[in-house]
Amino acid sequence: MKTIEEINQRIKDGDAVVVTATEMTQIVRENGAEKAAEDIDVVTTGTFGAMCSSGAFLNFGHTDPPIKMTKTFLNGVESYSGLAAVDTYIGATQPSRNPDVGIEYGGAHVIEDLINGKDVELVADSYGTDCYPLTEVKTQVNLENLNDAVMINPRNSYQNYAAAVNSTDEPIYTYMGTLLPNMGNVSFSSAGGLSPLLNDPYFQTIGLGTKIFLCGAEGYVIGEGTQHSTEVKRENGVPVDGAGTMMLKGDMKQMDHEFIRGATMPKYGSTLFVGVGVPIPVLNSDIAKRTAIADEDITCRVTDYGVARRSKPTILETNYQELRSGSIEINGVEVETSPLSSYKKAVKIAKELQSWIENGKFLLTSPVNLLAHEGYSPNPLKLGGKLLL
């Protein structure tokens, strides 16, 4: 048994033993969880995936005369203005108001451009008030001259996520990418054994206040993400489908373009590739055992996106070792797989976080409130009228 304070002292002294989740799998296999818990202080995780539920609060500063912005556009992408005068929230999936651009440039691209240091055109208008008489503003903003650029992502880094196929006769275009007809390919998203919430599946260490790697900067977990779910069936201790999520916060001014990217899924919309790495303190042998989870131990359901309903039929169950091998067998046919999240970047994030901790520049925090591990099950939205779909 160790405490976070003891681990932090070892980090400060340069004595902490930090390994990636991939390395931990091998260490526990060779030495067992008891010994690994004694030897290893921190396990680092990583993921770099498309996370639509992301965005940022920006504060522009006040003009003279001042304006209370009620409609705000950044490079032609609308951001939410129902806040105080010069605060806004830019959401990743908001498309451009220009129909010729549409989903090709959305809120995610605005966020990427800001982090990349580019100037962004701000156009806003207002109905004008006695205290905010200006009714229009058109200017350029960039990350340096914004007062605040705070990324707040309502739901990131799903704990497992079903893979997708398409049983219909036509290709379909989804947030899981292009799905070829007649189950012609498989698309999967999770970083598997390297993914943050699969390495702490009962949320024994992660919660409100956990300091993390977020897009190349220090960020924080600020609670359960929206749609957090704890009631999903488990195998080998980990959920077999989308379950827990995290709400995350970070300062865009500190972020690195290498670990964030605006993207567009064709005929679906814009989305943000977010780089997340969570350090897991190895406080006891149970946590050590959980962080040893391997790709082959994590079940992943393959579901049919050809059925455009909330509950998509499961075609089969596989695991991340098979998915990552390049193909899986469906009905006797080898079908090629595509990872939708970058495993290369996920590995890089886990290693980057590892080096931050080893170099003593990143200390662990004790969460104020752990993520809920029971009692969360998202409700469906009931339609009042006739089902149109």
């Binding site: 292009t178 070829l180 567009t264 590739f273 390049g326 595509s338 970047k345 590995v347």
Partner: protein, 128 residues
Amino acid sequence: MKAWLYFSPKMANKAVITDLVKNFDVNFNILRADIDSQGGKMLMEINGPEAEQGIAYIENAGINVSPIKRVVKKDENMCIDCGACVSLCPVHAIIVDDDWTVEVKDKECIGCKLCSYSCPTKAIKVIE
């Protein structure tokens, strides 16, 4: 070599490729073809001992031959190595390396553009 063969409307119904194969010792592979009564174009890989003479023959027959150096190019700065493209490639020209880098193999590419259309970061360009 790979080349685009441009067919004018009057060439559209001529069996030039048949004549090429009958008369010259060439290996060829038609990678793409889009030809109708208005003419069109064909992407062809052509090799073999008499490739040069064969190309001269089809040029003389009235087909405009435009050799290409590259079919596809991946922008390393834009690519995030996700792999969304890998399973879409009909000829397995896109692979994931041992270090999880996504590699697009120009030599095997037939320029179908399924990858470039589906790339989330627009990192793959198919050259016309």
